[in-house]
Symmetry: D4
Subunit: 254 residues, 8 copies
């Protein structure tokens, strides 16, 4: 149940088109739906503007399928991240129209409307190996209704590739900058662009990258203003926050 | 020189009210002003929407004073962070109307207009000892033209203090959440609020807080969506990004 | 041999129903039983109130089986943790009534009596992926004679799930709080409940969770009083200590 | 206001001896008392069984004095930790009967009743340099109404000092074990005693002690069951939890 | 070529029983034998009293076999550590009397004489899972000519197992103390024994043991004098140093 | 396209032997060639003196093959590092004369000319297990046109092996020093040689080597002047920089 | 004694102008000069091309003065780093023409010849606070006979300041890139310049810069080729290596 | 009371020259002497062969003086480490013949006999700044009755200084190797000498030395056999162990 549905329900009670008892039946699951191993948070779409997102790591495929069935029952678009192909195979049995984005390791159920033109979330990567994390961000923002633009492999060792695409920055409301190794991309972007930048360190690298620690510290210490950071490889977190900010910008754009 | 001034100048050249030579004189400092020890970035207000901010740590009071004089010459409001009282004493000699915010350790020159009502940047702290960092964020957002609301000492060990102020969350476009020690505040806020949350870990604590590392890791690992993180004690970075996001929301609000 | 058995034996010697020689035979193994690769501590039940628990990691299945046979010979309930299915397969050959708890990875031999009602050990998890560690705690407390209540998936990103179950907290003598990622659950519980809280960080997470380090630091830095912490993923340690504290509370409850 | 006072108040309303208006006046401060820089949690004594404890680090002496005045107004014993002599000097001006425990760096206002005999909290240190942290634990447990026994300088390098005092362990309901450097004391105690052990690593040491990290890791990795750990140098946290457990044991003892 | 052989050779040149040319042929390989991928150090037995020991990790089985053939050609006992069964299978083809110690993962070629009685190297472990590292130490000391005594599974959580075997300590010239998890064994031994103690942290444990870091730090921070530490899991290093010290003690014992 | 080709092209335009249109066709790919997943940097050979090198880790074999095809089209020698045999199998299908260096895990396309005599890059290793990283450095310098000399297994535990080869140092323009474990080789070399030393820590070791961290810190803290360090296992980076420095020395040598 | 002097001395012996006895007297100090607390390495200028440099930290002013007197006796220029004003005050008493570079904290005795034009060492900083470390590098290279060019405060947050000075890069043989905080400058330079780049991380920053660790990791993980790294704040090491490389380039330039 | 005194006492009881009651009086303090803040371990000289050594850090000067008075009452030589001049001033008041070694920061009471010739403990440092730690080791071994030889400032960057003093190594029974920064000295010594080497990392250095961590890791990872390590800056621990090993060697030497 999302916020519009909740408002409609309450209006229905007020104008008499819905009996309090029927409203009660619809609302009684509102806080959460207790499955023992999981308490599904149907209320999150009301509080946060988008429903609970399923983090598949550490859950059995059957648990994921059960949770996704309940969450998608309302018809709102639903997302599961960190899903491997085995999980998707089990999910598809009970939700035939679920879609699997392999690079992003995301399962999407249902389709959100998003604009074909206008301001967008721009997802940028430093290298080719950063693309899976970037795709997790892109799919997340897409499911949440944002138009997404992608600009991949423009790392700072070949600055002209980025300077050349400077124009693409102008159409974005918010930028997701994904980089591993030394993670310098958000600093350079932060010196060029006025939009909020969500920096995502990735675990791409070896040796003293310490599984993404190097890029994480780089991004946290950026001397460019307007940058904030999410966890290593957390494409979902960046895409989610970018979509929220983009909605604010779109309302300003209208 | 800010963007409006630049647009006016170019319009003046176009309509003939300004000779190209005079325009050249005004623009020739545009990229930066080279003082040897510092290259003052007069162009940043054009690129980023707000002028260069002076980070005083590691600079002599005289260097800070020189840079602030040049930056504030245009009349735009100017900010210096991490300023100790000695630095301010030197600055005040050449810029008498500079103002020192002691808790925030900020020097402000000039005054920005900001709305007295309407959507704001909400700065929240977990404890009393987090206030200096919070004030750096608040002063920064204020100088950049945002209305700022403060909600201090509402940490998760006494949840009712936060739940009680739930209404304050509704008026914010963006939340800055400042916390040391275990740093759990942004996670709880992230479960309650739909706005973007900029989390600021502080070095408040002792022992295994490792000078803010504990709070930093907590915030990076939050399972609540919609949260991004800046460096430990980086109130400035949070306030800056919050002000940028708030402007986007204000444009939507109008 | 546990404490009651030891007291009975000594009483038997005193009242002449047991000859000193027979008592000696029963007692001679008391300090430990030397198998070369292991010195089985039969005395621990006397000193600590519960017999030695077998930590299977790093031991061969045959070593585990040998130790469990000796420990369970007295008839007291016996526990082995971190046991994989292969180990259990070997153990079952020599101890047919051994029981395997798959999620908890525990082998239990024998059955302790525990109350069906009254004060209990409450095991709480932040997420679904934390359940295996929670089950290790729950099985441990259960084997040691405590009633156990389980409250799973009530993490701080959906606070209403926890607030809604506030009543469950009242029936507990002690709470085991299990959480990975940011590990904020014990801090929130510590602000709500007066009972001792044993916090268990889990290695659930990725990136800057650093295999549980993030949750560990969070819990150590909690600003809520009444919380102590055990090792990452150490469900056994938490369940053991919780059972000891619960017995103290039960004696007060009688 | 503590729990007994609250029960009396409600009983008074029920039996008519207190008017609802007067009850309201007494209760209206219940959630917290907002001073801007601090929201004093008067409700904590109701929720947790002991009032809010003031952590002085990061607060000005004036802030501490203000908070202590409000907290101690009800007459319940009140505690402030990490207080330096300067803070105490300011506090004493407005609260003349405040007492300063120098080694423990604690300010205590008011006096709790505690038994002179019977089960106690036993505070043990490995060395002489660990005593300040141990005293913080001891004063905390004392203020909360527990009898406290002290056994100092019995580290594992001279085991006979500990074995010799084995009898002291028997009278304790709970043990607080304080150690720096290698921090092995709780492991040895955990092999000897059946009571819950709260282990406190201290920052005593040098070099690879890394300001207490060594002792912290030792204690978290103990192979002795029945041990949980608090933050480095967190004598308060250990004393608080020990007092809570001791009360449970005392109720069983009665 | 070892030192006795070198002395005999030089004596032979002096007394004329060996021509300088023949001596030259025998000596010309003395510095090392260059195989491109390895420079085999035939001179080490002269400098250090025991020949080069082959560390197999990172070498192909064929490289190990080649090096062992050359080193063992002189007839002195030869040792290879960290050898897996595949490596041994290849070695045995060219050196049929090579012996494989599976738990210790050591290959030994040739047999050293060692005393059956008298002072020894005592190898002690805290737990059963520490035995493989202990065996690497024991085999190393044995190959180098020391009598070795083993005392396994006497960790500090059951102190009576260690106190009971106190007599075993008296017969040792030097003690190798092997422990994982909290690694407290050397501290307790260091308080009881006057002999040099070589402490070996092992990677046994989980969570905050951080692959042996916890035990390593414990041992480095021991407050018991007479203890030094080698690398995590470095049974070889401890056994080697123990054998060298034991030889010094034996000379004193004669 | 490398610099010589670019100069020839521009000269051709000047002297009329090349039409501007044809020059344009050849230059239009200059900045980069956009494949979506990768922006191939054809311009790097102009800026840096050697073309883009493909880092295979994190790329699919097909992506590597596509990029190598484009980069090698100009006929300049081309290098791909961190290539596994599967990747090479795919590359060979479309580039039949590609060569695979198994120990170095490098794919080379095309052949650079390099001198057979004269000053060289000297690659030195401490042990046998460091050879794969050393080979990555050697192949890189070779492809870039440097003569390479190899001196392997001369670690500091057998100093005579290094002192004996002191003469080899004299013929080098620059030294690449590769070492794992304690990583002391560059310090000793730095005390003996006047040439620049590029130190490469390797992940060879175990326990407290922490995957190369130990060797990295050793090399960064060297008290010998003339040493700089690259990432753990980064043979490529060292070989590249060594080749650049060697070219400078060669120009001096001519 | 430097190399030229040594060659002259040996030539003098050969042609009879110097008696072997006199040569012996001059050479007998060659290896080192033993002062108990220090063994002054007069031979280093022969082996390394520049004399021993005194690292003052941890030495008393008197020790520094004694060492400098001996080193500078030959007339070659001599350098001491990490010297505070107190040390210089003592040094100046015995060496009146010693010069103190305050920002660089260097003492220089004697003057080297260096070219006024032509290729140079270019020292670049990201910020103003990095200048002291940069000056240590610049003074070192200057003393060793290199022309030095300085380009300060051109960090990546204002890229135009760097792009604008692109021409300055062309005149350099080698670049020293000094940066704190996120340390991204060498990556950007490495994408633009073909010269060797010596990257120097500085401890400038706060919070998650962890005293320069962040910048260090960034630089080690750079994806730009041609970059090597020295210790945090090690301006001396960078300047030394840059001077050595510059000499190689100058010989090529002649 | 040391071991000889204890043997004499027991012999006196046996032959009747000492009454059991008098023996009891002398022995009753044997385990320890309880001062509340410290339990002075008079028994240690019996168990360990040398009396308790006082670690002054964290103790008040008065506590140190009290403990030293009691320990030195028996006339055996007594040692206190990490003593600052203030502590010594207090100690001297009650123990006038106490001696202060300023560089070593040690207080010594009483004088041990030690040989003037023959095998010794050789203390070696890499640099001048390592001398204070080396002196702590030297004084400790001296107080315990070992002849001590010192060889300072022979670090690996000038190898000839060490090779030149190779002869000094031959007279030692055991070597204490003290080094900061990269800490490579013990590895080089371990390749040259057959004696046991006790390696002491020091906190000398800066930047990535991380207060001695770099040298510590280097030493733990040494590939030279025969080396063990003590805590950073732990000169005492190294000197103590060296003295114990030296005594073993001396007995062999007699």
């Amino acid at each position: 149940m999302n916020r519009d549905e909740l408002r409609r329900l309450l209006a229905g009670v007020k104008d008499g088109s819905l009996s309090p008892d029927d409203a009660f039946d619809q609302l009684k699951l509102l806080p959460y739906d207790d499955h023992g191993f999981a308490k599904i948070d149907h209320h999150r779409a009301v509080r946060k503007g988008f429903g609970e997102v399923v983090f598949c790591q550490g859950k059995t495929p059957e648990q994921v399928a059960t949770i996704l069935e309940r969450l998608s029952a309302s018809g709102s678009p639903t997302l599961a991240t960190r899903a491997d192909p085995e999980t998707f195979a089990v999910v598809r049995r009970s939700i035939p129209d679920a879609v699997y984005h392999e690079q992003a390791r995301c399962i999407v159920v249902g389709q959100s409307k998003r604009p074909e033109h206008g301001p967008c979330v721009l997802v940028v990567t430093a290298g080719t190996a950063d693309i899976p994390v970037a795709e997790e961000a892109a799919i997340t923002a897409d499911v949440m209704g944002s138009r997404v633009d992608r600009l991949y492999d423009v790392g700072v060792a070949g600055l002209h590739r980025l300077l050349d695409n400077r124009g693409r920055l102008l159409t974005a409301n918010v930028i997701v900058a994904v980089a591993g190794m030394e993670g310098a991309l958000p600093s350079v972007l932060g010196g060029m662009a006025e939009q909020p930048i969500i920096a995502v360190p990735t675990s791409v690298g070896y040796g003293a990258s310490f599984h993404g620690l190097s890029a994480l510290l780089t991004m946290l210490n950026t001397c460019a203003p307007g940058v904030a950071v999410v966890n290593i490889d957390n494409g979902f977190g960046a895409g989610y926050l970018a979509a929220v900010i983009n909605q604010m910008g779109l309302r300003g754009h209208e």
